[in-house]
């Protein structure tokens, strides 16, 4: 505020000086009015500029990234490499994301369904590691996502709690609410006999998220309640209440059973 008034007085003085040079007697009042007018004009310009800028960002649509998300050891890296080169390498937990431009749709049924000619090659795919310590960089990628394949280890019931918590964060994140990228919950490792069916996984996740809604709606002081809210008040949570479209499918990268994922991609990269 001080700075403002300072510049104000100096400006006024300058106008006064200019006036006296030209020979027109300018009183303090007039010079003040001139300065005020100038300031007003600039303010107007700035405001309108800012508006148009904001409009620009509001129009911003989803990016083109295919984001492969999920907890540790779910099989994200396995899926990434399957999509990329059709093989199933031995993996360990990833320390950093794997990113590449991949021609997914050329491989399987993509050619037929997509626009005939060259198809939709060259999807940018990012396999983002599941370790919680790396989670701060996740939403940066989510903002650029056209769609998300969320890989779940269907053999690991204990991990579903973390899946639910992560999904809760995704669903309540501003980026999801603004961009609404379709999300496919791919229940991986269906080749293992103990793997849970997508329906069961869905029930488990919905139940866990419902529990989270209770605890999260009780926010601590200083935290915005609005951006923590998920679902419809008074109803138990179902995945179709999520701010983005959520589908489920079974998958086994090991057995190369990823048709549903490919179809999901074909739908989203038409």
């Amino acid at each position: 505020m001080d700075v403002l008034s300072d510049t104000f007085t100096t400006l006024a003085a300058a106008v006064e000086a200019a006036g006296s040079q030209v020979g027109v007697p300018i009183t303090a009042e007039i010079s003040l009015a001139v300065v005020l007018l100038a300031v007003l004009c600039t303010l107007l310009v700035i405001v309108s500029l800012a508006r148009s800028l904001r409009k620009g960002t509001r129009r911003l649509s989803r990016g083109d990234l295919l984001l492969i998300a999920g907890q540790c050891d779910a099989g994200k890296t396995a899926l990434f490499h399957y999509l990329r080169s059709g093989d199933f390498p031995e993996t360990v937990s990833s320390l950093k994301p794997n990113t590449d431009i991949i021609n997914v749709l050329h491989k399987d049924e993509g050619d037929a369904s997509s626009s005939g000619g060259g198809g939709v090659g060259g999807i940018e795919v990012c396999d983002y590691p599941g370790h919680q310590r790396l989670s701060h960089g996740f939403f940066g990628h989510l903002k650029r996502a056209r769609c998300v394949v969320y890989v779940i280890d269907a053999t690991d019931k204990a991990a579903l709690k973390n899946v639910a918590e992560h999904l809760y964060e995704i669903f309540t994140h501003p980026a999801t609410n603004k961009l609404r990228p379709p999300l496919l919950l791919a229940c991986n490792k269906s080749d293992v006999p103990t793997a849970r069916k997508p329906d069961m996984v869905k029930d488990d996740i919905e139940r866990e998220i419902e529990r989270l809604r209770q605890s999260r709606s009780a926010t601590l002081e200083g935290q915005d309640e609005a951006d923590n809210y998920l679902g419809v008040d008074g109803e138990t949570f179902k995945l179709d209440m999520a701010p983005c479209r959520v589908d489920m499918c079974r998958m086994s990268v090991k057995k190369a059973e990823v048709q549903d994922v490919i179809k999901f991609l074909a739908d989203n990269y038409r």
Partner: protein, 646 residues
């Protein structure tokens, strides 16, 4: 003998691995999740029961080399092995790594390297043994001989004797006479009865591998054959020796006087730091050289190499060293100016390969800054070290300075540390327990005067009013006068029930009674207040450990002041250590989370948050920001990161 070796990319693809024996659990993933991703890479070896895991990062290629092994005595060569494997492997794959890289055949080269390293390790060990043997006093030597005689039998043969035998074998190996070595191996296998099965598996595996390599027929057949024979002979013996040395050692020591030093050397559960403390001392017993002794013996090793130039690995390494010093000298004298010029240009344009020196110069500033923000000195040091390890050899991005690169890495590291790796949602856990009909118990512990009771009251308010839970407070501070009254006031204000049994009683049993009562009377949550205690007060610390052991609470919350500086390290370490040491149950509990109090009083000096989280590896679950019940928040990681590095 090592158990396994693995080479993988940062992206997570295994490029080569070999297991000599099937691993229990998954030490590699454990390493990644608990060490590499936790900014603990300043060290280079970690104990992941029952294994020791040693690793090497090659940042320029985004590769990680990991060796898994058990025991420490006979593994002097791990470091050298990792280095040689690294060099050879990078050459093998042509110095480039990309997403298409898959498993490669590296067995043959690896076996050669392993053999060389083992041979050399034996030589080093012999000299070590000799020296320490001379150093020992006569009387001591006498007792040792006695003990050996008493123990008798093959397994307890003098270690140095066995050493000599090993060398004999080597001699025969070099001569290409595998037969003799084989006999030795058989002899020993008969002697070592209990270690047999494992050794057999290992030997078997080796044979298989050698056979495969031979089948590949890459080398001249005569050469391979010779090597093969030697391997069978020498190898049948060498893992045996490793095993026996390990087996025998404790028996040997048990007849010596047990000194605290001995005990510490034997205690593998102590991590790197403690061991470093030990190895500065003299060797504890003959042959008891722990892994870092290898480094201590460097000078000797070089002497050996000078004598023995036909050792292929030795000459290799020498060449390498020469090469290194050569480049250094050149850059110092001739290219000095030019280098500095390109350096400064690259500093602006980016794409510069980071060296130790580059990083150090800027890292010092950041370190000082962190300490000024109240991060404990130790922690700032470790963090800086870790960031450095992750950066050396990397190229800076285009148009980023070294400083910016280091800052980015450091910021990410701090962010990673502070980001909880598990749910910090206490309310959810409590609701879940309620749904399952269990009482959820939280123990609050910490040093004196940090605000335990006040913040317990805040948590109580939160659980009661936001979660609609029925809460009971248990007054287990039976030590400080007025503690119970203070809680009573809070309980009255909060309109919750207080469970108290006055002063002077055993806190552990009051807590137990409280939890039982809560279960019977339909409470959902019990908050247990404990007496504040200094971390050096043994009796009180023991009482605390007992309280935890007896009650096995759902959450152990350490209450700490945001004002604390270097003492944070000591406090948390000692509290955790006391919980570990004094718990007599099989399931050891340690601190699960941190409640950081007086957070409103520290401005941007929020370093305590980082220190505490780093030491415990546990998240800050709440921060207290004032006197009112509502002054309780969750830690905003980004704010802290900004305050620390902004």
């Amino acid at each position: 003998m090592i158990d396994a070796i693995t080479i993988f990319t940062n992206g997570g693809v295994v490029l080569w691995s070999y297991c000599f024996i099937k691993l229990k659990g998954d030490p590699i993933n454990q390493l990644i999740k608990t060490v590499l991703l936790e900014e603990r890479t300043g060290e280079s070896v970690v104990r992941l029961d029952p294994y020791n895991v040693k690793w090497k990062l090659v940042n320029e290629l985004e590769l990680v080399f990991v060796v898994v092994y058990q025991g420490i005595q006979n593994l002097l060569y791990i470091d050298a092995l990792l280095d040689s494997v690294k060099t050879a492997f990078i050459e093998h794959i042509g110095g480039k790594v990309n997403l298409s890289c898959r498993k490669v055949a590296f067995e043959a080269k690896f076996m050669k390297i392993l053999q060389d390293c083992e041979t050399k390790a034996k030589e080093i060990k012999r000299t070590t043994v000799m020296r320490s043997f001379c150093e020992t006093k006569k009387g001591k030597a006498a007792t040792k001989k006695d003990s050996k005689k008493k123990a008798g039998g093959g397994g307890a043969k003098g270690e140095e004797e066995e050493e000599e035998e090993g060398d004999d074998d080597d001699g025969t190996t070099h001569n290409g006479n595998g037969g003799k070595g084989d006999d030795h191996g058989d002899d020993k296998q008969q002697q070592g009865t209990d270690g047999m099965s494992k050794e057999a598996i290992m030997a078997e595996n080796r044979k298989k591998m050698m056979a495969r390599i031979k089948g590949g027929g890459k080398k001249g057949s005569a050469d391979t054959g010779k090597q093969d024979k030697g391997q069978e002979g020498g190898e049948g013996d060498s893992p045996q020796e490793g095993k026996k040395g390990k087996k025998k050692a404790p028996r040997f020591w048990s007849e010596q006087k047990v000194t605290s030093q001995n005990m510490r050397a034997l205690d593998y559960s102590l991590k790197g730091k403690d061991e470093e403390g030990v190895d500065t001392g003299k060797p504890v017993a003959v042959g008891a050289v722990d892994r870092s002794a290898y480094i201590d013996d460097d000078a000797e090793m070089e002497m050996d190499e000078a004598d023995d130039n036909d050792d292929p690995l030795a000459s290799d390494e020498e060449e390498e060293e020469e090469g290194d010093s050569g480049t250094k000298a050149a850059s110092g004298a001739i290219g000095g100016l030019f280098k500095r010029l390109t350096d400064s240009v690259q500093n602006i344009t980016g794409n510069k390969v980071l060296t130790d020196e580059d990083i150090n110069t800027v890292l010092v500033d950041f370190k000082t800054n962190l300490m000024a923000k109240n991060v404990a000195t130790d922690i700032a040091e470790k963090l800086a070290q870790s960031v450095k390890t992750s950066l050396i050899g990397q190229r800076t991005e285009r148009f980023t300075t070294v400083r910016a690169t280091v800052k980015k890495a450091l910021t990410e590291a701090v962010q990673r540390i502070l980001t909880p790796k598990k749910s910090v949602d206490v309310l959810r856990a409590a609701l879940e327990a309620k749904a399952q009909g269990r009482v959820y118990s939280i123990v609050f512990l910490g040093v004196n005067g940090v605000g335990k009771s006040t913040n317990l009251a805040k948590v109580c308010y939160y659980l009661k009013h936001k979660g609609g839970l029925k809460v009971m407070i248990a007054a287990c501070d039976t030590f400080r006068a007025g503690a119970v009254e203070q809680l009573r006031t809070h309980a009255r204000c909060l309109e919750v029930d207080l469970f108290e049994r006055g002063y002077g009683k055993d806190a552990a049993f009051i807590a137990k009674e409280a939890i039982q009562t809560a279960g019977n009377e339909g409470y959902d949550v019990v908050l247990i207040d404990t007496a504040g205690r200094m971390q050096d007060n043994e009796p009180l610390m023991r009482a605390l450990a007992k309280l935890v052991a007896v009650n096995n609470p759902n959450l152990i919350l350490f209450v700490g002041e945001a004002l604390v500086g270097n003492d944070a390290v000591d406090q948390l370490q000692k509290f955790n250590q006391c919980l570990v040491d004094m718990s007599h149950t099989s399931k050891v509990r340690t601190i699960d989370g941190i409640l950081l109090t007086k957070f409103d009083t520290v401005d941007d000096k929020v370093g305590a948050a980082l220190s505490m989280v780093y030491i415990t590896g546990q998240p800050v679950i709440f921060v207290g920001t004032g006197q009112k019940y509502t002054h309780l928040r969750k830690l905003n990681v980004n704010t802290v990161v900004k305050a620390l590095l902004g």
